[in-house]
Symmetry: C2
Subunit: 239 residues, 2 copies
DNA sequence: CGCAAGATTGAAGTACGTCAATTCCAGTGG
DNA sequence: CCACTGGAATTGACGTACTTCAATCTTGCG
């Protein structure tokens, strides 16, 4: 069940069976959630640590006008809130996008791992740093790239992230998002997003069968969208 | 010299004289830098940890087309790169905006503090989490706010951040940025930024004398720009 | 088969960008 | 004290990438 997490951390360091067992033992509960359910809401005091096992979720904020901005996608293997244990309250919400399976980890167990297992702690820290780097890259995307490159860049990123946790086949992956949600991620209206997606399809960069996104020519799309994978810090090479 | 850092960490926890001494002892060197000098460049392997003592600096990335996106402002008291010690190389650059005084801290000393002084470690961690929260809020700004609110929101944030380290007088602070740099931060052209700044001035929200930014009515500007300071996590109240 | 959510389309409006001048201003040298 | 200079701020005219609104078409699904 923790396989995506193991694969993810495995990008940074070799995990021993003992390491895996420790992580496994920290899990106290597992739950299924439907799509569009909040896992944590802005203002909540963070409690247990959520690990996403199946499905996609998102960090987001709602503005007074009702607009939503998605600030991060969470996919299998991602810890939603290791970090917030220190803060008094959540400054954003986390909600599921698709159906999700979520493992709840006891934060005491995780804290002890961090204190007593330097190598695992480093791997967890590395993963938090990568999340930060991704947020920064999204900022670049929003500030300086136009719609077509925005979408292309995001698709390259999600393909590599999915690949790292074993969720790709060839260069395709499940993308359980509506165009509205994609728009709320990239700061675009769903109308413009739709038209731009069509352009990427007709230019041959991508194809799609329903919810599955197919990247026809990753190198071409990377070049087009000015995508440099360095910020993902997948340091031991890709899976 | 480390006073801004002490004030900043003091927002989260009470620092003892011993804590301060430890931080002080970690400093191995201090240097002056002119404006627009790079402190670290993309691709560098992170070495010593930089602490900004005076002046403003910025995290930024350059795109192939020559555009620049600024992803964070660093002001006195900010550690530039505690976190990156783990990563193989910098995925962005850090450059000064104004003249800066920079203290170099030995990363071994800092590592030992983190391992042996749980309270200080927590404070440093808290500060890293706040930086992350700020980046996320900038993402919201870029995705969903228009130029006037973007600028207003940024000014509210920088006022509060400056206030926390003792760099304000009434509701004004030094803003050592050109309009071009502000534009590169907010994803706007300097022309549009200029016109929008004028609008904020004529609407009475702000005034300025040269490099000094004066917020005439903070509450009004916060309401206008939809600014909620929760994401700054200034938990023990403002200085 | 029928419904509802999502995708797609068209038309019209707007917030922004670009280009190119011009003005302002702080610092410098005389 | 003033003229000179280069960078920054400001202005105008024009183009465009996006938004909004409102309709229609598709698709998955009970």
């Amino acid at each position: 069940m923790l396989d995506p997490l193991f694969r993810k951390l495995g990008q940074f360091t070799e995990l021993s069976d003992g390491d895996k067992q420790l992580l496994h033992d920290a899990v106290v509960d597992v739950a299924q959630h439907g799509p569009r359910e909040d896992l944590i809401r802005q203002g909540d005091r963070p409690g247990r640590v959520h690990l996403l096992v199946e499905g996609w979720a998102a960090r987001y904020k709602l503005l007074p006008g009702g607009e939503r901005q998605i600030m991060a996608y969470l996919i299998p293997g991602d810890l939603c809130d290791v970090h917030v244990a220190l803060l008094q309250q959540m400054d954003h919400s986390i909600g599921t996008l698709s159906r999700c399976k979520v493992a709840y980890m006891q934060d005491k167990a995780l804290t002890r791992i961090i204190e007593e297992q330097p190598r695992l702690a480093k791997a967890l820290w590395w993963s938090a740093l990568v999340d930060e780097a991704i947020t920064r890259e999204w900022l670049v995307t929003m500030g300086r790239r136009q719609a077509d490159k925005r979408i292309g860049h995001l698709l390259c990123e999600m393909l590599l992230r999915c690949k790292a946790v074993g969720l790709t086949a060839d260069d395709s992956f499940e993308l359980p998002l509506t165009q509205e949600e994609l728009g709320d991620t990239l700061g675009l209206s769903h109308v413009h997003l739709n038209r731009t997606l069509q352009k990427l399809r007709s230019d041959g960069f991508i194809g799609s069968n329903g919810r599955r996104m197919v990247i026809n020519d990753l190198d071409a799309l990377m070049a087009f969208a000015d995508f440099d994978p360095i910020y993902l810090h997948q340091e031991r090479g890709r899976a």
